[in-house]
Amino acid sequence: MSKEDYEIVMGLEVHAELSTKTKIFCSCPTEFGGEPNTHCCPVCMAMPGTLPVLNEKVVEYAIKAGLATNCEIARNSKNDRKNYFYPDLPKAYQISQFDMPLCEKGYVEITNKNEEKKKVRLTRIHIEEDAGKLNHDDYGRGSLVDLNRAGVPLIEIVSEPDLRSAEEAEMYLRKVKSILEYIEVSDCKMQEGSLRADVNVSVRKRGQAEYGTRTEMKNMNSFRSIVRAIEYESNRQIEVLEEGGKIDQETLRWDDVSGKTFSMRDKEDAQDYRYFPDPDLALIKMSEEYIENIKKSLPELPESRKKRYIEEIGLPEYDANLITASKHLSNLFEKASEICGNYKAVSNFIMTDITKFLNEKELEPDQIPFSGEELGNLIILIDKGTISTSIAKKVLAVLFEAPEDPMKIVEKNGWLQISDEGAIKEVVLKIIEQNQQSVTDYKAGKKQALGYLVGQAMKETKGKANPGMLNKMFMEELEK
């Protein structure tokens, strides 16, 4: 049998740090970075006798996430202790939620490459606290514990095993990220670890009804590593089965450098977290009115923006999909369009030049450093003929490096488009002079020779000549 005879079955556990100002159970700041152990207090350091008090924003943000992903919101909920020993967990238990999560039974809709829609079901969304960070000392003799991150609020979004390929898993994760960004409950910076995913992977022969034994992979911090890890692990499982072996249910750590998974714990240590209700925390009861108010406060979600772009602005579905996939890109599009009034031009510029730049530099849309105003002003410069489209690409490259008003960039670099008739005529005559063969070709009916001459003139002016005027003037001269 071959790989194609197997189906991959996956579920994701997504952890997102909530963008509250303070931690989940104490008033320490959640800000990323900072000197070690300076965002700490006796509560998040688990000093004896301290008591946790739940941050109201954490509940609100988790419910927002639940409503935005079509979940049922619990009217009664509670916090439970999940017990395990690890040095980054000072209490030796994590306060999480066990059997009464805030949100349950939701779904997220993804659209695959063939424009087919698929609902990925969510089992639950619950709130919990993050752990601290272990560093290694200068001499490698010990580990150093920094608890700045301990107690930062997280939501864990658990999906049903509805995903069937690495591509679907990536689309699902991108969709979840985009929703959380739109409703502004998490900044979802994967590079800072504020969005992380664990993947449960199993394989089964096509047509087989029951699921195979699954493994859980941890430690993936980019879309690329998640896709690679899924491909590696599913292939590994298929190979084991093909050789007549059995899959062990285990937790694996993905190593991005070697491109392999490694076992973290063996079966004998099968997790037994001994959950029980945290007696230090009160129950959570949600009124209809409270939930209704949060529902009303939800901003426009990507699906709705997409619809608006297609129906009101007339963008193609593909473009609308790509732009609304990221709140940053969508906001950039809206602001720039508002400034320059040319939706089509902004969307085209995003779909071609900006997307190309992001792909080349392997950047995510939220790493775009320039503003919608700056992009809008760049489009205005193109529309007014102040710069050519080839110069616009250069301005874009500068905007990615050191964003400022595009006009300033143009002036500093002497990139103003040459639209002066006399200056253009001078260039045209010079190029004709230097390329007599092309002139002969053109007159003999080879019309593509014109393109070559225009190209030479562009080169001569370092891309600054107005292409429309160049074309026109070459034609005039050649037809003489």
């Binding site: 509250t20 100002k21 303070t22 008033s27 320490c28 700041p29 000197e35 070690p36 152990n37 300076t38 965002h39 700490c40 207090c41 006796p42 350091m45 000093m47 008090v53 739940l54 941050n55 109201e56 924003k57 509940v59 009664n76 509670k78 017990n83 020993f85 690890y86 040095p87 009464m100 272990l134 560093n135 290694h136 000392d137 490698g140 003799r141 010990g142 580990s143 150093l144 514990v145 920094d146 037994d272 001994r274 209700p277 007696p279 925390l281 009160a282 129950l283 959570i284 009861k285």
Partner: protein, 94 residues
Amino acid sequence: MEITREEIMHIAKLANLKIEDSETQKYVNNMKEILNFANTVNEVDTDNIDTSIHAVETFNRFRKDEIHEFGDRDILLANAPEQENGMFKIPKVI
């Protein structure tokens, strides 16, 4: 209520406790007594009582999302057996 040596060893492992083989019988006996004591709860008639999910009935005790910095790292680290660069130093964890 019966409890086995294996269960005692499992619980000890989960609790990160080291128990010598010679001690297990003692803990088996102790645990049996504890369980038997706790089992008296089972004799209570609960037919007409709602299921409780928590020891206390209070609910919605929230905090506002406002920063109050504790601001004294030295005090927080004062009892650390070892520290380095403002962090707790512990035996190496891979």
